[in-house]
Amino acid sequence: MTADRQTLLYLYRRLSYIRQAESLLVRLYKEQQMRTPTHFGIGQEAVAVGVCGALRQGDVVYTHHRSHNHYLAQGGDFFALASELYGRSTGCSEGRGGSVHLTARESGFIASSAILGEMVAVAAGSALAFKIDGETRVAVSFFGDATCEEGVFYETLNYAAIHKLPVLLVCENNLYSTESSLSVRQPPGTDLCARARAFGLSALSVDGNDVEAVYNAAEEILQNIRAGVGPTFLECRTYRWLEHVGPNYDHDMGRTYRQRAELEEWMARCPVKRCAAKLMESQAISEQEIARIEADFDAELEAAAAKARQQPFPDASDLFRNVW
């Protein structure tokens, strides 16, 4: 199965939108008005866009701390995201959650969590509910390579396989967990797909910077899951451009846990540019059209962020709302 031209154009627009959104947030974050630790997803957009692009109405998405890409790819509102980062009452979580606790339930983006591994089990639980009800809905969990070091991950693999749950586990393997490289966290030669297969899951590894590859893989996997094959693990190899948390490049902060040359190699494989190049090659889009799309998104996003900043803070008298 391959994405047709229309689909690829759509995926490109989503990629471009998210890249612009995150780039804008990076810029605004530096003003120190968004007081919530934020893990930017620049460089990894193709994973969220490719997978969410293949989902259907009724499917549900959970994710981890690096959550903006998935929130936006799934249709979460940018104004509500920016408001949340500014701590405003118009935030998607009304200023209670911050960057790592987003929700856009109406779009199928149920929730994100700052605790590694949590949402892998939660997604399996939603899949269990779908299975009990005989529905063909699928639950998706996005997470990083470090979640594959948590015990809860393996408990979930085991359980999902026993019950043949309709759950898609998407690992964005960006090689690092904060400043720890894979070499100190996983034995040499570790193949995460092999681990998943050992538990009885189907597993596949794709280039996470190639939106078409991610989309095609997700399309096929989702079809199989809906047909009842059970849980699947999808590893997407990718790279985070910015520091683990915050808006800067590591080299700007003098960090040495990874080399600038490595970053530049990965930047040359930019998922947005790659998709654009492919579309231009087949003359599905022109450079001018790309520039216009970017300009339109830019204007839209700038306006939404400016509006978010003008919103009221939540009222302190409202502190106790939603405890129960």
């Binding site: 339930r105 949590e118 408990e155 979930t156």
Partner: protein, 347 residues
């Protein structure tokens, strides 16, 4: 409503079955829920009536299972996760505390609510020892967003189970092992007891005994002895640790001026200390004596029967504490309730 006597375990079972009849979204899972032993028989009838689609075993995976319950609840299910020993729930704490308790708040209610129930068995049985007997009420109740109930009577076991299964927040039900065979009147029809409402088990004027779970029975036994000594004890069963019925406790303390708190766990940072603090802060003027806490000795639970006898507090400790308020000699022998002696293994 007609009443009849049921055991605590029959009442738990009936509460569960009646709730499951009314609500298809309820399912029960956890280690051993579909064994013939059925968690002291509390899940057997549900399995017989509703089958393995709604009552099913789980691997030993407490952490992920809690998350799975959360994910199912987020989709509209009402999962009941049973821990045959509460100690196993330590492995589920991340999901329960970091996620379930905060779900509604940190997503501003927009990610929905989590109507999930955790049942966990606590307390003394037969040499359960250090890691198979702990009472986790103060640990769970510490965190806003999670309800913790400790039914002491069959009537409350049924009514609080039904209430937990109708609530739209996570609820932990802690069931004391030796209570399963205790009996009491239980209404036949479906009913709910309000979570967060204490029950005054005995009205008295001289001393307030706030007792949790199995210690309510010990307090009742103690009150009989105290009555013979001319001391009129009032017993307040909080039933729910969070939310806590502060006003019922305070009203009693203000009336009697004396407070004993009996809890199934340790003192430090525990429920008994919480109630003592409540009295000190809000009923200080009416207190006529220092508050006494009857709790576990400050060591892990031992196994040997002889050591267990020394370890677990009972009616005699409550009597002695009350007697000391009135300058009477301690050391009075008091018949503890008989349930511990009748408990049969292997659990």
């Amino acid at each position: 409503m007609s009443e009849r006597n049921l055991t605590y375990r029959e009442a738990l079972s009936e509460g569960l079955v009646q709730a499951m009849e009314r609500d298809d979204s309820i399912f029960v899972t956890g280690i051993a829920v579909d064994y013939s032993s059925g968690i002291f028989g509390t899940t057997s009838e549900a399995l017989r009536r509703f089958g393995p689609k709604r009552v099913f075993d789980a691997p030993a995976m407490e952490n992920a299972l809690a998350g799975i319950a959360i994910g199912a609840a987020a989709m509209g299910k009402r999962p009941v996760v049973v821990h045959p020993r509460a100690d196993f729930a330590f492995l589920a704490m991340d999901q329960l505390v970091n996620l379930a308790a905060k779900w509604k708040y940190m997503f501003a209610g927009r990610a929905g609510s989590l109507p999930l129930v955790v049942r966990a068995v606590i307390g003394r049985g037969w040499g359960q020892g250090a890691t198979h007997s702990q009472s986790l009420q103060s640990i769970f109740a510490h965190f806003p967003g999670i309800a913790v109930v400790m039914p002491a009577s069959p009537g409350d076991a049924k009514g609080l189970t039904a209430a937990a299964l109708a609530a739209d927040h996570p609820t932990v039900i802690l069931e004391y092992r030796t209570l399963y065979e205790s009996t009491g009147p239980v209404a036949e029809d479906y009913y709910r007891e309000e979570i967060g409402r204490a029950r005054t088990v005995r009205i008295g004027k001289d001393v307030t005994i706030v007792a949790a779970s199995q210690l309510v029975l010990e307090a009742i036994a103690a009150a009989k002895t105290l009555a013979d000594m001319g001391i009129d004890a009032e017993i307040v069963d909080p039933r729910s640790i969070r939310p806590l019925d502060e006003s019922a406790i305070l009203a009693s303390v203000r009336k009697t001026g004396r407070l004993i708190v009996a809890d199934t766990s340790w003192s430090l940072c525990g429920f008994a200390s919480e109630i003592a603090a409540l009295a000190a802060e809000r009923a200080f003027a009416q207190l006529r004596a220092p508050v006494r806490r009857i709790t576990l000795p400050d060591c892990p639970a031992p196994v040997s029967y002889k050591l267990e006898e020394a370890f677990y507090p009972g009616a005699a400790d409550i009597v002695n504490a009350a007697a000391s308020f009135f300058g009477m000699a301690e050391g009075k022998e008091t018949a503890s309730n008989k349930l511990v002696g009748e408990f049969k293994g292997p659990y």
